[in-house]
Amino acid sequence: MAQFEKANSLHEWLDQRLAIDTLERVLAKEYWIPKNINFLWAMGMVLAFTFGILLVSGIFLLMYYQPNVKLAFDSVNYTIMREVEFGWLWRHVHAVAASVVFLIIYIHMFTGIYYGSYKKGREMIWISGMLLFVTFSAEAFSGYMLPWGQMSYWAGMVITNLFSVGSLELNGLVEWIRGDYVPGQAFLDRFFMLHVLLLPLAILGLIGLHFGALRIPHVNNQDGEEIDFEAEAAKYKAGNKKEAKVIAFKPDFLSKDMFVLSVFLIFFFYLVFWHYSFAMDPINFDPADPMKTPPHIYPEWYFLWSYEILRPFPKDPGLVAFGIAQVIFFLIPFLDRSPNVAPAVRRGKFNIWFWVMLVDVIVLTVMGKLPPEGIFSTIGLVATVVFFALWISLPFITKNEKAV
């Protein structure tokens, strides 16, 4: 056994046994962040905190929720909303956070694209981030099933039908996923399990991977400058903080993070207390009815862009387009052939590519919400074609990009 001396404080006692000082130094006090960043670099912390909010509010909801097709609707809309004190608060916090977390994810993603933060050693940051996006999507979808309203049921029907993969007619696979011919008890139970255990576990693991992926290449900065982190850290530690291009994660960067987080939380709780209804579809306040499809089915706003890509095509091409749209963002580190790590504004054609892509995704989102008729169908089709044209053109427009 190692030698232990008598500790003079709880801190020392813990440090002897767990090396908490070393841990804090490695993870925070000597984890270096470039100075040359802006508020968009705080989105990671905002996301981590919002995930915490979802976890805590979810734990409280879990104490009264009943994963049973006969009881689920009332356990949410009567027990939690009317009987449990502050039950409404947990539900509204959970619903608003689930919606807003996607807004921040999209901001975080497009920030990464704008500044080229996915190349030259940062590929795994991007890929682990995309894996988080996919897992969050599955988490959002499985959670949407739980109140067992009309939108839950019919979204469940439509999304599980995707697994028949068009003309392959893999109905056996769809029935296997549902455990029934239609979404029923088995379906609700397994999506409940996914939502409260398996997917949150996966998310926690992926957050660890995402943070880990940052350590070696470090965070990017506003100019894509390659920083010698060891040299700059040495300046900082020598007391020359003014000239050092880096700051410590704790306490310097954390204080900036906390400020942005505070602003975000004002916006967040404003939504929770005054505008929670945007995160609650009125149709989902009707109990699930397998005999009646609601006149309009559309997903939550954050899935609309890819839903719109599914719509204008016949079944099989639509599914192929949808499938590609789901994974294409994974490939951006490899489709962007330019070695430049720089903000899009300095990258010529890529700047146009970036803004057209952003606007196109917004157009797809808006069209996904509108009924698939007349001019809306046409605009949706054009936006879908533009989406794919952009991805096909990306390697060509970046290949001959001038070095900056």
């Binding site: 029907m157 068009g166 003309s167 455990g179 029934d180 011919y181």
Partner: protein
């Protein structure tokens, strides 16, 4: 060297057993997710067609799915997919759009089905007339028994349609 190869051997044996166990777990997991016997045993549904009114859509429930039954009016186009009971012709089909499974709504004035999800349309024979649905509404297994229709059982009329490739 001898030590190493012995260690390698033990590692391989462990790996082999672990892989076998893993396969067993996967098989059990797959079977656990299969529909339960009580779900599969969802029985037969019998529908009496004698009281049906032309151009009025009846929706029955079979295995949790809606079944469209529509008595055709004489001006509606005849189809080999029609279920003939006495002198009357019926559309009998699973009422789920063949695109992604929404229930299309019947419009008696226009005599067609419109799916609200993605705008697909079907005529009164269940044939798809506007994409995205890639195929006609599916005809469930049925048997004609006098003026009654038994859903879930394959009668001679159903088998004939199946052979002709008309059921979906």
């Amino acid at each position: 060297m001898a030590e190493n190869s012995r260690r390698d051997f033990m590692g391989k044996v462990f790996g082999g057993w672990a892989a076998l166990g893993g396969l067993g777990v996967l098989y059990a997991a797959k079977k656990t997710w299969d529909p339960l016997p009580s779900v599969k045993a969802a029985g037969f549904t019998t529908v009496d067609l004698s009281a049906a009114e032309p151009n009025v859509l009846n929706v029955e429930k079979w295995r949790g799915k809606p079944i469209f039954i529509l008595k055709k009016t004489p001006d509606m186009e005849k189809s080999d997919r029609d279920v003939v009971v006495g002198k009357d012709r019926f559309l009998v089909a699973i009422g789920l759009c063949t695109h992604l499974g929404c229930i299309p709504a019947y419009r008696p004035d226009k005599k067609d089905f419109l799916c609200a999800c993605h705008g697909g349309m079907f005529d009164t024979s269940g044939d798809n007339i506007k994409p995205p649905p890639p195929s006609p509404l599916v005809i469930p297994p049925f048997k004609v028994d006098g003026t009654k229709l038994v859903l879930g059982e394959e009668g001679p009329e159903y088998k004939k349609m199946k052979e002709a490739g008309l059921i979906a």
